[in-house]
Each structure stands twice: as structure tokens, then as C-alpha cells.
């Protein structure tokens, strides 16, 4: 009712309690300190409090809550990876996503739209079939489809053979979904604070304090915080923190750019990805086309955007979806991504005792937020590497046992 809305607007009454309570004073000691209040860090805090009864936790954030890559990704959630290790991990994440709205009591707008990874070459068709078979074997819904079926699933696509890279087939993954990314950080953060977790924004880690190979605390711009255990979850800045703790990482920091168009009426249902053309696109619930491409071609700690990116993206996008020719780009941004040599994350224990890492999330971190939070909480609470995270341990590189997921990265890099 417009009158009720007007009355409410003029009444100066606030509807319900604030999202977050004002943060208490920063204490000098916590059981667990988590560096980084993005989706991953907050999820780990929430599961530590809920599942493991550890509630004396501080989450430190140098900027604001959920302002890093949690706010900068393109919100695609899928489990159609290439390696059995990767598929098992992301499958658990999709299962957790499905009940997350109710659990966190916040509308995540999690919507399963279907996900099409287009193949423009024989090699890409082969990889799509490989992924489909691995997925099916592990109970993930994926199949290889050809132009006739693609036309039915997404009639907007230009399936003409008269283009530079005709569409030969696609990996179709019906559970592919999108969600409202900010709400994920807010939901986990709010539920964690209800369980006693403290979130301290504008609190930057300046050094990691260790003693005899064991972490003892974090020096921040607001003083020293002692901690029994420390978890770093700082995508993009992972190396800076690992340097402070004193171990090496196989990570290169590279920007990943994205943009959204002006909002239009709902017209594109599935999520479209083309690895060969370096394009992915979906239409958000409010009608904006969310678009991204490959990572930048060289290392950089900056969230600047470039015209080169938009030109390359638009050229390929218009070959796939000519209907977008007159649509304007409204916003653009970049996040800094942790790229690993095998395109898989780095999770678990580190060479420093009681110091844990959640890093190497490259361009694939958002979809893993729930499972990573849950399993990292288990890792921190028990000081053991959970079986699901075993393939993603930091020591895999020294053991020449990497988990090659390049073929399942959404875009070529």
C-alpha cells in the first residue's frame, strides 16, 4: 500500500534491529583470529561458532565487510569441474547453497538458471564430454549438448555457422546458478555475530607474530591481538600475509575485470560461458547483464579497469549475442585474483603451526564460499586437514601432485 509506505517513511521508525551490532572493543586475546571479512572468512567464523563451539573469534578486515572479491565476482555457482577432487568439493558447495537462504535467514536470491559452456573447437567439445562424464560419474548433473538442443535452451544465441568461431556444442549444467553476492557476506556475518563472533572493520593486519614455528598473534594498526589460531582468508593479498607469516605461496596476483549493462526486461535465462571467446554472461534478477572475461595478461595489485578489456569483451559478446549491440555498459570494476599454477585453490594447514590458509581462489572463489567456510572451520578446530581438502593442501606442489583444473576454468587465461 503506497499510503502505508508513505506513513512508514515519515514515521522515522526503524524497521527491526540493525543488521550488525556495533563492534565491541578489540580485545587483546582471542581463541581464533580470522584475517579477512569476506564471504570465506565470515563463513569460516560462522561454522566455527556453530559446529565447533568456538565463539571467542575476531574477524579482522582492513576495509569494509565483504568489500573485496565477495563484492567483485560475477556470482556464478556451479559444480561442473574436470577433476574428481574438484567436482566432489564444488558438489558439496552446491548442496550447501541450496539450503542457505533459510539457514542464514536472508534472501540470497539463489536461482538455478542452467549453465552452458560453449565449445567452438573439436578440442573444446572433447573437454566438454570429458567433464560431462566425470560429473555424471560423481552424481553431478551435466551433459554434452549440440546446436539443436542449445537453440532450445537459449534461442538468443547466434548459432549461425557464418561466424569466426561457430558454436559446435556445449556442456550443459542445469544446476548452474547465480546469487546475490553481498547478501552472502551479510548473512554469514550477521549469523556469526549472533553466536558471539566479533567483526572488526578498518583493522589491518600489519604483521603475523610467530614463536618457535607457531603463530601467537597478529599485529594490527589497532595494537597486537594474541590468538591461539589464525586463519588468513585474504584473496588477492594472500602472498603479502604469507610473507609476514614466513612461507612461500605458488600465487600470482592478477586483476580480473567485469562489468554490468543497463537493466533490461528478463530475456536471457541460462548463464552463458565461452572459454575460447573469453566471455561469460548472465542476466541478474534486476535485469542487468553481468559480463566478464579472462584475467588481465600480467601481474598487478590494482583494481583499475581498462578499455582493452571492454573492447575485447564486446567484440566476442556481440558475435554470440548480437541483440546486445545497442545496450550500454553501466558499471565496471576489477578484483585482484590469486592465480595458482594448477587453477585450484590452496586450503588448509601451513608450515607455521596453528596458522591456516584459505587462498588461491583465482577466478573461482565465490561458488565455494559455503563449503570452504565449513571445511576450513573443521580444519582450524581439529588442526587436521579434512579429507575433502586433502587434494588442495599447500604441500601438493612440493609433492608434484597438483590438481589441474585449467580445462574447467570458466574462461581461458
Amino acid at each position: 500500500m503506497p499510503w502505508n509506505l508513505l506513513k512508514y517513511g515519515l514515521s522515522r521508525k526503524s524497521h527491526g534491529p540493525a543488521h550488525f551490532p556495533p563492534p565491541p572493543e578489540l580485545k587483546s586475546t582471542y581463541d581464533v583470529v580470522i584475517v579477512g571479512a569476506g564471504g570465506h572468512g565470515l563463513a569460516a567464523a560462522y561454522y566455527l561458532a556453530r559446529d565447533w563451539g568456538i565463539r571467542n573469534i575476531a574477524v579482522l578486515e582492513k576495509g569494509y565487510l565483504g568489500g573485496g572479491n565477495t563484492a567483485r565476482n560475477t556470482t556464478i555457482i556451479r559444480a561442473n569441474y574436470l577433476t574428481p577432487e574438484g567436482v566432489a568439493f564444488y558438489k558439496e558447495s552446491v548442496e550447501l547453497w541450496r539450503g542457505l537462504d533459510r539457514e542464514l535467514d536472508i534472501n540470497l536470491m539463489y536461482t538455478e538458471r542452467g549453465h552452458l559452456t560453449l565449445a567452438h573447437t573439436d578440442a573444446a567439445v572433447r573437454t566438454a564430454r570429458w567433464r560431462a562424464e566425470v560429473n555424471k560419474h560423481l552424481g553431478v548433473d551435466s551433459e554434452l549438448v549440440f546446436p539443436e538442443e542449445i537453440a532450445r535452451l537459449c534461442p538468443q544465441l547466434n548459432l549461425s555457422p557464418q561466424v569466426r568461431y561457430p558454436i559446435l556444442g556445449a556442456l550443459y549444467h542445469p544446476p548452474g546458478a547465480i546469487a546475490r553476492h553481498d547478501a552472502v557476506a551479510w548473512g554469514y556475518g550477521r549469523e556469526a555475530t549472533k553466536l558471539g563472533v566479533e567483526i572488526h572493520q578498518l583493522t589491518e593486519a600489519e604483521d603475523i607474530l610467530t614463536e618457535d614455528g607457531r603463530v601467537t598473534g597478529v599485529k594490527t594498526n589497532r595494537g597486537v591481538v594474541h590468538a591461539g589460531k589464525v586463519l588468513q582468508a585474504v584473496a588477492g593479498s594472500s602472498t603479502l600475509l604469507a610473507d609476514m607469516a614466513g612461507f612461500r605461496l605458488p600465487i600470482q596476483t592478477v586483476p580480473l575485470q567485469a562489468c554490468v549493462s543497463e537493466p533490461l526486461k528478463p530475456i536471457l535465462d541460462p548463464i552463458i560461458v565461452s572459454g575460447s571467446l573469453h566471455v561469460y554472461i548472465s542476466q541478474s534478477a534486476r535485469g542487468e547483464f553481468v559480463m566478464g572475461g579472462s584475467t588481465d595478461p600480467y601481474a598487478l595489485y590494482s583494481t583499475r579497469t581498462t578499455l582493452d578489456f571492454k573492447e575485447g569483451l564486446a567484440a566476442h559478446m556481440l558475435e554470440l549475442l548480437p541483440m546486445l549491440a545497442e545496450v550500454s555498459v553501466m558499471r565496471e570494476w576489477a578484483g585482484i585474483a590469486d592465480m595458482t599454477p594448477d587453477f585450484s585453490p590452496v586450503m588448509g594447514r601451513t608450515p607455521v603451526d596453528n596458522y591456516y590458509i584459505d587462498a588461491g581462489w583465482g577466478t573461482w572463489g565465490f561458488k565455494a564460499t559455503p563449503v570452504c567456510g565449513k571445511r576450513m572451520a573443521e580444519c582450524v578446530a581439529t588442526d587436521t586437514q579434512p579429507e575433502l581438502l586433502q587434494p588442495f593442501r599447500l604441500s601438493r606442489f612440493a609433492e608434484f601432485d597438483s590438481v589441474g583444473e585449467r580445462g574447467a576454468a570458466s574462461v581461458g587465461h
Partner: protein
Amino acid sequence: MKIMNCPLNGPRNISEFVCGGEVRDMPDPASGSDAAWVDYLFMQNNTAGVIYEWWCHVPTTYWFIARRDTRSEEILETMAVGDFPSAGSPS
């Protein structure tokens, strides 16, 4: 478009170049330990600051070295490999 000054071809668009990664010492093939090779192959300094990098001008396949700031994206200097201060170990 960002411009890079190629020591051989002069100022060209950055899209004509590919980055070959930070200049680092390769372990000695005869005596290098497994740990040294793991570090060389997989680990990264990932410095937030000024680094020396290998770059290649693709149309002429000319490899050279650039000094670049990984925070500001500024290309501070480019040089032919022969002009590089001490081969393999800068910084």
C-alpha cells in the same frame, strides 16, 4: 591503450607484448635440489612493488627486460637483455 617502449621496436601498444614473468635465477640443472626446482617452477615472489620482468614483443619475437611497478602499473624502464645489470639476479 597502454604503451610499452620496446628496446628494439620503440613505443608500441601493450597488446603487442606478452609478459614472461619475473626475472629469477634458474637452479643449476646438474646440482639443483628438488626443493630448489619446486620453488623455481611453482612458487612466486608476487612482489607488490618494483620488479624486473621478462617481456616479449610478439610480432618480432624479441625478448627483453622491463622494470615495472606492480602496484601502480607504471613501466619504469625497458632494456635489452645485454644491458641488464646482473644477469639473472636483480633487486
